[in-house]
């Protein structure tokens, strides 16, 4: 088997010059794999930026006003490197913005969605490759706009990632609510357009371009999760886009959708009034609660695949898994109000949202139960992807349970806007999703680059990250339970919190360790890309369609017509001698192949 796939399609561009060929192949590529990798690299770079912004927050909280390294002398030389409170708001705003809109969402849907969907369903590309390319290139205006916002004082938007009005809707409301906030809105709108283009494309591809025999209930969980995520994006994102446009108009055109009556800012009445700040919160969370599932469902899907593969056992309860993902998505649309319990919303609504939110625990518990069921009695291989996936499952339990605390209105009133919330969503998003993403990178890296990543370094990366992240995020629960507020540049101003500084210092040291541990990952990634040991098509002995394609797959992905005979989780099947049973392997003689041209998707 050759791994000269890269030039499998060289003939088509033979007439082009070197640079032109490079640009059309790697820059303006319409190949889903290249686009997926473009997303992967862009998001990993932004991951670094977001991580550094987080360190800025941590340093301020551990040693307030003692001068921020690097950024301090650069931007605040006049104050001896001591950052301003406004800059602190910028730090946490941009940290969240970068991590959510530039890292988690695009790395899951953009990078893995793009790379895996056609490969795992047996298609040669997305249904609309040009649209797919556009969805990546719409990220660049967003990168540029958000990047530009760093150059207007106070160097970034400061409205929080939720951009709540009236602070964000009034031009003069605060430092950082001038140009940076407007650029922020435009940038997020571009991310929205990118995601929207991606999601309709993914749905069309999954609906229409599955290989013969690949019925909907033979799809890997990754694809199911991507499919449901795409639906969430398609239905929720336009609402945020609409709200974003309205806020933009409030800022630049003098409309008053979100500006309340008689709002006095800087001793003058806001230009217009009669709007409703609460309306923004509703529209924003109508997207952004489903968005938290956009940020975790694909991770759950990928983890399901990895766990099943390394337990050498079929996924426990495949259909319940599908239904629970759908259930989470469906319920996800009717719970957004739990972010607004203390906003002064209608109490009857609050009650409804509380009950609906609690119900999400059910499908989530089904998923955890099924993962545990999959592991139970399996022949476990503790490879790096498996370690990350197991970590995902256990940490997701912590993050999920703390979610139930805040779903309860009476409890939420106490912990609202404290570090308890911060602990919760970092447990879900970092120790959950980010760990799953690491696992997925280790798992599919051989497919993407035809080379293995180093296992020893991978395990070291895992253990260091695991220890440091728990040191960082676990203590935040305790901070939050003691009322430690988020989004405050110097909480120690309040006597009550001054004794919490040592704990914050410990957290910050762990956070620095956590960021430093990623150097191992970066080194491993870059080294393995070029010098890792080459692999064949199926290094993990997995069942999915993608493992039957060459590593890395060439243009058009498959060098044969994939025909699917079974689901992707037939590990340890008695029908064959091997402990895995690829989806494309015809059954041995005497067993009737089923479902070749079935139409049983709905």
């Amino acid at each position: 088997m050759s791994s000269t796939i890269v030039d499998a399609h060289a003939g088509e561009h033979a007439h082009r010059g070197g640079v032109g060929a490079f640009i059309s192949k790697y820059v303006f590529s319409r190949d889903h794999k290249i686009i997926g990798l473009q997303f992967l690299f862009s998001t990993l770079l932004w991951f670094l930026v977001g991580g550094l912004l987080a360190l800025g927050i941590r340093i301020q909280l551990a040693w307030p006003w003692e001068g921020m390294p690097v950024i301090g002398p650069m931007l605040f030389a006049g104050e001896g490197g001591q950052i301003s409170p406004e800059f602190y708001t910028t730090l946490f705003t941009m940290h969240a913005t970068v991590m959510i809109f530039f890292v988690i969402i695009p790395i899951l849907a953009g990078a893995f969605g793009n790379y895996l969907i056609p490969l795992m369903i047996g298609a040669d590309d997305m249904a609309f490759p040009t649209l797919n390319m556009l969805s990546y290139w719409f990220m660049w205006p967003a990168f540029a706009l958000i990047g530009m916002s760093f150059f207007f004082p106070p160097y970034g938007a400061g409205g929080g990632w939720t951009s709540y009005p009236p602070l964000s809707a009034v031009w003069e409301a605060a430092p950082g609510s001038h140009w940076p906030q407007t650029l922020w809105l435009l940038g997020v709108t571009c991310v929205g357009i990118s995601s929207m283009l991606g999601s309709v494309n993914y749905m069309t591809t999954i609906i229409q371009m599955r290989a013969p025999g690949m019925t909907m209930f033979r799809l890997p969980m990754t694809i199911w999760a991507m499919f449901i995520t795409a639906i969430l994006q398609a239905f929720a994102l336009p609402v945020l886009t609409a709200a974003g446009f309205m806020q933009l108009l409030d800022r630049v055109a003098g409309t008053g959708f979100f500006v309340p009556e008689g709002l006095v800012v800087n001793n003058s009445i806001a230009a217009s009034g009669g709007g409703q700040p609460l309306l923004w919160q509703h529209l924003f969370w109508f997207y952004s609660h489903p968005a938290v599932y956009i940020m975790i469902l694909p991770a759950m899907g990928m983890v399901s695949d990895i766990i099943s593969c390394f337990s050498r056992k079929p996924l426990f309860g495949y259909k319940p898994m599908v239904f629970s993902i759908s259930g989470i998505a469906g319920l996800g649309f009717i719970v957004w109000g739990h972010h607004m319990f203390v906003s002064g919303m209608n109490p009857i609504l609050g009650m409804t949202f509380m009950v609906a939110t609690m119900m999400i625990a059910l499908p989530s518990a089904v998923k955890v139960f099924n993962w545990l069921g999959t592991i139970w009695g399996g022949r476990l291989y503790f490879t790096t992807p498996m370690l990350f996936s197991l970590s995902f499952v256990s940490m997701f339990i912590i993050g999920g349970l703390s979610g139930i605390f805040m779903a309860a209105t009476p409890v939420d009133i106490f912990i609202h806007d404290t570090y308890f919330i911060v602990a919760h969503f970092h447990y879900v998003l970092f120790t959950g999703t980010a760990m799953a993403v690491f696992g997925a990178i280790y798992f599919w890296f051989p497919k993407m680059f035809g080379r293995m990543m180093n296992e020893q370094l991978g395990k070291l990366h895992f253990f260091l990250t695991f220890v440091f992240m728990n040191g960082t995020f676990y203590l935040m629960h305790i901070l939050g339970a003691r009322g430690f507020p988020r989004r405050l540049a110097d909480p120690y101003d309040y006597e009550t919190f001054s004794n919490l500084q040592p704990m914050n210092q410990f957290i910050t040291i762990c956070a620095i360790g956590m960021v430093a541990s990623q150097i191992i990952f970066a080194g491993n990634f870059i080294y393995s890309m070029f010098w890792g040991p080459t692999v064949g098509r199926n290094p993990w002995r997995a069942n999915g369609l993608e493992w039957t394609a060459p590593s890395p797959p060439g243009h058009g992905n498959f060098d044969f017509q994939p025909i699917v005979y079974r689901g992707p989780y037939e590990y340890g099947s008695p029908e064959v001698d091997t402990d895995y049973y690829p989806q494309t392997q015809p059954p041995p003689d005497g067993i009737e192949p089923t479902g070749k041209s079935e139409h049983t998707d709905h």
Binding site: D124, V200, G256, F257, S272, N557, Q585
Partner: protein, 497 residues
């Protein structure tokens, strides 16, 4: 490793793969329907916003169509236009399917044309709103939520602005010949001097300098003269307008706006004064931009105000008669000598200068009499002005004010802004900014979709629209019908509700 390692080549990558589609339609149509789903959510976000803001606005404040120059007929016409365009694109699709390319093109072209018509009518509608100052704008549009002191002072500011501008222009026009004369003189002397200097055979350093400066200065003078001429021309052209408008603006400024502002600023917190203050501001707001639903309340305010005025006048007249009866001849003489044209500031009333040859008692009487006369004159003056600009009769059956125009024809009162379109005074439209925000948001995004449709049409129209292009026309048509669907809901919501 996998079973495909042998027996297959992977060097020719791209083999044609077979799929098992779930839906019996082409991918383009699938993605288009999915895209329309996202569009449905987008517009439901916008329309939902409109609905909750509109029905959640304080009871009875949302402006009716006529309060904000919405013409239902134009909306209905546009609905019809879009329906026709939907129909024509369907017919184009039918023609394309039966491979009648030229017929398809005719129908398609008609759709294209109707889309333009829609935008054209939309443009007319937008224009009329902009013309009347109804749009959201930073830092503040002409729309005010209520008649309060901010509103009244904004009216005064606008009037002041107009009056000052025209007065300055008049002054400039008057001084223009003088300025021109000066410039011409300078030009003449400079030219003569320059020629003289040029004529010299040997010039001193100083004279050389002077010559240089003159050569520089002369074109400047010429340019200044040219500027002045064109400016004067412009000022002259406007002078006829100014002659008519300036007195009107001044009269409105001095007779209503200032009266309303000062009444509104009366410093007392008893209920009667509060009522009077509100009355003054409401009356002014109604004069500028009458809202039909305010007519009844304003008529009450006016009646109360008139009663008040009459009462005050009667009281003053009685006091005046008494003072007159007791006054000395000298006092009356002095009174006659005073200039009693009403000053804009009622505060100035008491400042009548006492004649020196009067006793203190006489001066006091004189002062009081002067104040009374001035006050009476002022009231009379305001009434006259009111009659001139606001000659209205309240029709209690129709609950409207009727206005007799210059031609003697009686019609509904449309306000000073309408009578004198150049005034562009701030308007009181409760929830008006919100109305404008939502109206322009909804129609704007809809119009944007129409424009996108136009671009798509423009790309397709040069093609040969035969059966092979039927899918393309179908998908374009689906998008276009969606645009029509949105308008079907926007029309009643924005024009008729």
């Amino acid at each position: 490793m996998a079973q495909h390692d042998s027996g297959h080549h992977d060097d020719h990558g791209h083999i044609q793969l077979e799929y098992q589609p779930s839906l019996p339609i082409n991918n383009g149509k699938v993605i288009l329907w999915l895209f329309l789903s996202t569009e449905i959510m987008f517009f439901s976000g916008l329309i939902g916003t409109y609905i909750v803001l509109r029905f959640g606005s304080p009871a009875g404040t949302w402006p009716g169509p006529h309060d904000v120059h919405v013409v239902e007929k134009l909306g209905a016409l546009n609905t019809f236009v879009l329906i026709c365009s939907s129909l024509s694109i369907v017919l184009s699709l039918e023609a394309a399917r039966s491979n009648k390319a030229s017929l398809a093109k005719i129908w398609f072209g008609l759709t294209f044309f109707l889309a333009f018509v829609f935008l054209f009518i939309k443009g007319i509608e937008y224009n009329s709103k902009f013309d009347h100052g109804i749009y959201p704008q930073k830092p503040h549009s002409q729309i005010y939520e209520k008649a309060d002191i901010y509103y009244v002072s904004a009216v005064r500011t606008r009037l002041n602005e107009l009056v000052t501008k025209w007065q300055t222009e008049d002054t400039e026009l008057a001084t223009a010949p003088n300025t021109a004369k000066q410039l011409e003189d300078e030009q003449q002397s400079a030219t003569a001097r320059r020629d003289a200097l040029n004529g010299m055979s040997n010039r001193s350093e100083q004279e050389n300098d002077e010559l240089r400066q003159l050569t520089k200065r002369l074109p400047e003078i010429k340019a200044a003269l040219g500027d002045l001429a064109s400016k004067t021309k412009g000022l002259e052209a406007g002078s006829a307008d100014r002659k008519v408008r300036l007195p009107i603006a001044e009269s409105i400024l001095n007779d209503f706006a200032r009266w309303a502002e000062l009444t509104a600023a009366t410093a007392s917190d008893d209920l009667v004064t509060r009522h009077k203050r509100q009355a003054a501001m409401e009356i002014l707001a109604y004069q500028v931009y009458p809202l039909h639903r305010d007519a009844h309340a304003v008529s009450e305010y006016l009646r109360a105000e008139e009663a008040d005025r009459n009462q005050e006048a009667a009281k003053l007249a009685a006091e005046r008669a008494e003072l007159h009866g007791n006054a000395t001849a000298a006092t009356l003489e002095a009174l006659k000598a005073l200039d009693l044209t009403p000053a804009p500031e009622p505060g100035a009333d008491a400042a009548a200068p006492p004649s020196t040859n009067l006793s203190p008692e006489e001066s006091a009487v004189l002062e009081r009499l002067a104040a009374i006369d001035k006050r009476l004159a002022q009231t009379r003056h305001r009434e006259e002005a009111l009659d001139e600009h606001f000659a209205v009769r309240y029709d209690s059956n129709e609950h409207t004010f009727m206005h007799t125009g210059h031609d003697g024809h009686e019609s509904e009162w449309h306000g000073l802004n309408d009578d004198y379109h150049w005034l562009k005074l701030p308007m009181k439209i409760p929830s008006g900014n919100m109305w404008a925000s939502t109206y322009f948001l909804l129609t704007g995004f809809h119009a944007l979709h129409v424009v996108v449709g136009l671009i798509v049409f423009a790309c397709i129209i040069p093609l040969k629209l035969d059966a092979t292009r039927a899918n393309m026309i179908e998908n374009t048509g689906l998008y276009w019908h969606f645009v029509d669907l949105v308008w079907i809901f926007l029309f009643p919501l924005l024009y008729l509700f």
